[in-house]
């Protein structure tokens, strides 16, 4: 397992969390719960973007390493 594949797995988990949170935000009957789920979803989205960038970076580095 390379570092990139590990981070990719985390990225996939993040995507899963985001979609679950958005489902709960939609299906909850309590306004407070809806709000909490929505805010959490936005935060997870931000984390997801950062990790995505890191994945690109890692992939590039690993390609350079294997080709040299």
């Amino acid at each position: 397992m390379t570092v990139a594949s590990n981070v990719k797995q985390t990225l996939a988990s993040l995507k899963g969390i985001e979609s679950q949170l958005s489902a709960f935000a939609l299906h909850s009957m309590e306004e407070e719960a809806q709000k909490a789920f929505h805010e959490a979803m936005v935060l997870v989205g931000e984390i997801k973007n950062d990790i995505q960038l890191r994945v690109y970076q890692l992939e590039r580095e690993e390609k350079e390493y294997s080709s040299s």
Binding site: S13, I17, E30, A33, L43
Partner: protein, 285 residues
């Protein structure tokens, strides 16, 4: 004999109508008046049914007089506090500040034994546990325990608990209850999809409820089949925790300074996410 059957049927209807008109308060017999009316109505009906020498009309008349007086007493006690005290009676304080008021006990003709019996029915065995106790007009005892003897609540523990709405029953006997489904903010299409996820057909579902998180719980006719419980919320919390741990591990493992910082920051963000939603995902601490 035939007249007894006929009279019984007639009085069942008459009593049914009078009780309906007088309302729920009458059935619970909270006040003196309702208690008296309750006994007398039954007695009149019983007499007239079995004693064929009595006129049916007189019986019905008697019932209605009692019903009307009882109804008027209700109306009057709604209007005036003084008359309410006379008609419905007031409670008698038996224990105040942890001390038994013997005078009031005597006034109500209650012995210590009667009082202890009432207390035991309330699961209280020691006088030392009580702060305040009232004997209600109907003879029930209401007890306020001392603070340290009261059951503990989330508030005592400074715990924040999410408010939950009552679950809606959306499937009964294999039929969709459309009213509740709309109240829960769901569509039949959503329900069909959820059932498909659980791999059951609508006909097999005896009872289906949806909670305030939109999770469906069902009971099927066949008790031998085991169904998976709703696991989505605890699972989500577990994934969030795992990702947070992963991010912290990456921040320790990498040599790249920039990446280290980024991982650190996002691990903290993930902690925020966890704190925001853990209350709703079933973790209270």
């Amino acid at each position: 004999m035939f007249t007894v059957v006929l009279r019984s049927l007639l009085f069942v209807i008459v009593l049914f109508i009078t009780t309906k008109l007088l309302g729920k308060k009458h059935i619970s017999q909270l006040s003196l008046f309702e208690y008296i009316a309750g006994i007398t109505l039954g007695d009149i009906a019983g007499e007239v049914i079995l004693n064929s020498s009595l006129s049916v009309m007189h019986g019905i008349l008697g019932i209605f007089v009692f019903a009307i007086i009882s109804y008027l007493a209700d109306v009057i006690s709604l209007k005036s506090k003084t008359l309410r005290n006379v008609i419905e009676g007031t409670g008698t304080v038996l224990v105040e500040d942890g001390k038994l008021l013997e005078g009031n006990l005597k006034k109500e003709h209650y012995t210590i034994d009667d009082f202890s019996t009432l207390l035991r029915q309330k699961d209280v065995f020691s006088l030392a546990e009580i702060e305040y106790a009232v004997l209600e007009p109907k003879g029930m005892l209401s007890v306020l325990l001392k603070k340290e003897n009261r059951p503990i609540t989330p508030k005592d523990l400074n715990m924040k608990v999410p408010s939950e709405k009552a679950p809606q029953t959306i499937i009964m006997d294999g039929n969709i209850v459309y009213d509740s489904l709309t109240k829960a903010g769901k569509t039949p299409a959503w329900l069909r999809m959820e059932l498909e996820k659980l791999d059951v057909t609508l006909d097999n579902v005896f009872l289906g409820q949806v909670d305030s998180y939109g999770e469906l719980t069902i009971d099927i006719f066949d008790d031998k089949i085991k169904l998976a419980e709703a696991q989505e919320r605890p699972l989500l919390l577990a994934t969030i925790k795992k990702v947070q741990a992963d991010l912290e591990m990456y921040s320790l493992q990498t040599d790249n300074k920039e990446a280290k910082l980024m991982y650190r920051k996002n691990a903290e963000k993930m902690e925020q996410v966890k704190n925001k939603v853990k209350l709703y995902l079933g973790e209270n601490f």
